[in-house]
């Protein structure tokens, strides 16, 4: 079953469209990778899906037509995004960032549990609990953004270059976390990544976006062997 | 004689520039007051002037927000585009100064300015109305010299020409007497409260408080004087003394306050049988004026309108010169709202002060009661 269906999505900035009728689907419980060169429009897709950009075309999430939904409503439905770059509230402390991430959660206990869980996963954040998040290092902020998005326990998590600025060890750890979330909790993931090696190894399905159009799609393992993909994304 | 611009056989155009908007929009009541007088006259056919013709008065009001620069542009607009015969009731000393040179060069009468300072930049072509602040200072001094020879005065004054003129005049009026000014504190219209000044004044050990400020600070001073247990003899300028403006301070606190007035007391609910007041109330109703009948500024405006009518009536020719001539030679002209015994008198070259008399009043908790007779400084208004 598809948790997300996108058909003929067009979006852009100002008068010019960046996306030209993009269509793809994400299956419930799968990990989907979205590859593409710089400026292909990956971020634009995610922003359109989150409702931050006006868009045309059909977007269906878990049976709900998202076109009528405000961005906040989409989060409530279980669609979370880790934005690219500095996604944290710089003036807020680390703890407040996590608390605001759980804005849609009502159970105090769950919030507390989750917070502890991510603090254990990222001890760095625990050390910096009371520090303003804008003062964290780039990688620490990235961890925080990730933990914050996970606080809302989304059904579908869209990550925009989650490994950006992260040390290799941490990148690996994050992918481990993704895997376990997917495996143990059935969370669906839509990952935009430049680290194509790693991504294709753990994703089930993959799409390649080029200049606002999906050009290649298929099971991730197939793409790993696709020559064009190898050339531009795998550095073989 | 060739008639001046702004006057035809059946109308005469008069301009007013005053603050209708902004923080001092209260002064806008003056323009409305003038209109309150002229509207009913127009309805009745107009003013019969000394040249035998009856003319309606066309009033043109412009807003200047009390900015002297805008007053100047307004007056220029009134004179050059609207071609008014004269401007009246221009409020504010700097505003009248700003237009002084222009009206003097052009020969435009600037009649009955609403400013307590009379020696301004256009001496030939302007004339004041309300008593000079020096007159008021002299009145207060006279009261103190007569009733409280050893008074120790604390002075709260507005830090503009108003207060400064008053202060200087009071000082000279009480020199060589037992009355002394022991402390003086300025207030500005931008001060949020004046308690600091009042505390300082109280600490000076004064037994008399003289207040020359706007209504807000006046009311505050009155309240403070009683509430703080100070209870000095309080003399308060007529610009702040109206009952309406003392009301927020609590009328019981205002008991005993002394002021000097030149306008009659108007109490709409108990009109009494004064002919002038009755006419004023009738005109106010007829003109559907916005200001309250008890608004002293509106009353001043009405009186100015009345004075304007008197000047028009005595104009022998339809010219600006004749108008100025008439305004400069008023002879005991009586106005509806002036207290009995107070009249307008001027003389070309000698006497530029239309009103030079004041009467002292004391507040009894409900109304002002007259104290003694009108004190007249006719022909001897102290210059500053």
């Amino acid at each position: 079953m598809n948790i997300l269906t996108v058909r003929d999505l067009c979006a852009g900035y100002g008068a010019t469209d960046v996306l030209h009728k993009v269509s793809f689907t994400v299956e419930q419980g799968s990990i989907v990778a979205l590859l593409g060169a710089n400026g292909a429009g990956k971020t634009t897709i995610l922003r359109a899906l989150s409702g931050l950009l006006p868009s045309r075309g059909l977007v269906e999430f878990g049976g709900t037509d998202l076109r009528q939904c405000s961005p906040a409503r989409r989060v409530e439905l279980g669609l979370a995004q880790i934005p690219q770059g500095r996604g944290t509230f710089g003036d807020f402390t680390v703890e407040e960032n996590l608390a605001i991430g759980a804005y849609t959660i009502n159970s105090k206990r769950q919030i507390k549990e989750d917070m502890e869980r991510w603090y254990t996963a990222f001890p760095r954040l625990a050390e910096r609990r009371r520090q303003q998040s804008g003062n964290l290092s780039g990688g620490e902020q990235q961890m925080l953004a990730l933990a914050r998005a996970l606080m809302s326990r989304p059904k579908l998590l869209m990550c925009d270059e989650p490994s950006l600025g992260l040390a290799p060890a941490i990148t690996e750890q994050i992918f481990e976390i993704f895997k376990s979330l997917n495996h143990d909790h059935g969370m669906t993931l839509l990952v935009v990544e430049q680290n194509a090696d790693l991504t294709l190894q753990f994703a089930h399905t993959a799409y390649v976006l080029e200049a606002g159009d999906i050009t290649v799609s298929g099971p991730a393992s197939d793409l790993l062997r696709n020559e064009a993909v190898q050339q531009s994304y795998l550095g073989v | 004689e060739e008639p001046s611009a702004g006057i035809t056989d059946d109308t005469v155009k008069i301009g007013i520039s005053g603050p209708l908007t902004g923080p001092v929009a209260a002064l806008g009541a003056i323009a409305d007051g003038v209109r309150t007088r002229t509207d009913p006259i127009n309805v009745a056919g107009g003013v019969r002037m000394a040249d035998g013709k009856t003319r309606k008065i066309e009033l043109l009001v412009e807003d200047d927000g009390l900015d002297p620069q805008r007053t100047l542009t307004n007056v220029r607009k009134l004179v050059e585009r609207e071609e008014v015969l004269a401007v009246v009731a221009t409020a504010g000393t700097p505003n009248n100064q700003a237009i002084g040179r222009y009206i003097n060069q052009r020969g435009i009468p600037n009649l009955f300015m609403y400013s307590g300072v009379h020696e301004l930049a256009g001496p030939e072509w302007e004339i004041g109305f309300v008593p000079s602040f020096t007159t008021e200072a002299a009145t207060f001094a006279k009261y103190l010299l007569d009733n409280k020879r050893q008074a120790k005065v604390a002075l709260l004054y507005l830090n503009t020409e108003t207060g400064q003129t008053f202060q200087a005049a009071l000082e000279s009026a009480i020199s060589d007497s037992g009355v002394t000014i022991v402390a003086a504190q300025p207030v500005t219209s931008a001060d949020p409260t004046v308690e600091t000044q009042l505390s300082t004044l109280k600490a000076s050990g004064a037994d008399t408080l003289v207040v020359i400020t706007g209504p807000r600070q006046g009311a505050e001073a009155v309240r403070f004087a009683t509430e703080s247990g100070w209870k000095p003899t309080t003399l308060i300028s007529n610009i702040a003394a109206s009952i309406a403006s003392l009301k927020p301070a609590g009328l019981e606190n205002a008991k005993g306050v002394i002021t000097s007035q030149f306008l009659k007391q108007v109490n709409a609910s108990m009109p009494g049988d004064d002919v002038g007041v009755k006419r004023y109330l009738a005109d106010h109703a007829a003109a559907q004026s916005k200001f309250s009948t008890e608004d002293a500024l509106g009353q001043s405006g009405y009186a100015i309108g009345d004075a304007l009518v008197k000047v028009l009536e005595s104009m022998k020719a339809p010219t600006r010169e004749a108008m100025m001539e008439a305004a400069r030679n008023l002879d005991h002209a009586q106005l509806d709202l002036l207290l009995p015994g107070i009249t307008l008198t001027t003389k070309t070259g000698e006497d530029v002060y239309p009103i030079e008399s004041l009467q002292l009043f004391q507040f009894d908790g409900a109304a002002y009661q007259p104290m003694g007779d009108v004190i007249s400084f006719e022909g001897k208004t102290p210059r500053h």
Partner: protein, 337 residues
Amino acid sequence: MNGTRLFQSAPAALVTAVALCLPFLAPDFMLFEFSIAVCYGIAILGLNLLLGFSGQICLAQGALFGIGAYATAILNVNFGMDPIATLPFAAIITSLIGVLIGLPALRLQGLQLAIVTFGVASAFPQLLLKMDWITGGVTGLATDQPLAPKWFPGSQELWLYGLSLICAAISVFMLRRLLRGDTGRLMRALRDNPLIAESLGVNLTKARLAAFAASSALAGLGGGLFCILNGFISPQSFLPMKSIDILIGGIVGGITSMAGAFIGAVFIVFVPGWTTDINPALGGLIYGLCLIAMMMVARQGIAGLPIGRSLQALGGIFNKKDLSRVPGPLPGQLGGE
């Protein structure tokens, strides 16, 4: 070179054309009012330089305007200088004082700077009163009016109007020099992100003060002209609201547009009068609504209106680029992130 949208662009051409045609269209008293608008326009140019281009807000522009006016008046009254000859001095004196006022800007930005400078504006009239030995206190100062020379064919008003236009032209000319090339770029860098500007070698102290100095000089020039036009000045003309008016003029016209400065000036000079003409009792009400509506329609100021833009496209044949301006938070975090 990415020419800056300055004088050549469509709104500017329009404003220039209107300014030159006015003497044939408007009666004398209107010319006088327009001359006054030109004075404000010059002061607003200064504010644009400061707020629009270097990202520092100064709410004491009205006070600086007043300082220029008083400089002219004092030089004329006490030293007998010809009023017109005082103008450069007015600009220089104001510029020096402007630098003093700008000193806090070295540490404070945005809202804080706005409030501190607004405090200066509030204190200014009181200071004038306090220093009555030189400013004439409440009585103000009356200056000589420069009469039109004999050879001048038009009226006195036209002469003064011409004088204002010349001052305006000089101001625009000087400002253009500052805004193009390296100095212009560094001011915009300062505005958009001072930290990075500094690491690129921009001397923040110097740049900020220079912007203040230039801006104040313009305010002073405008003020001096204002004094000449009126022939009389008093503290009552320089209340803190004047600074707010100038700010409104700047923003309504368009904070990064030179033509906008003059459009904004015309707005603040004429619109309050018109609104009271519509209805004396409701004047303020209409003016308030007018301001709100204006900004809702023309978010980037009148000079940024679509009409302006389409005209500009027409004029684009001669013209190249817009001066860039990031929409979003005001310099120094007056707003959002």
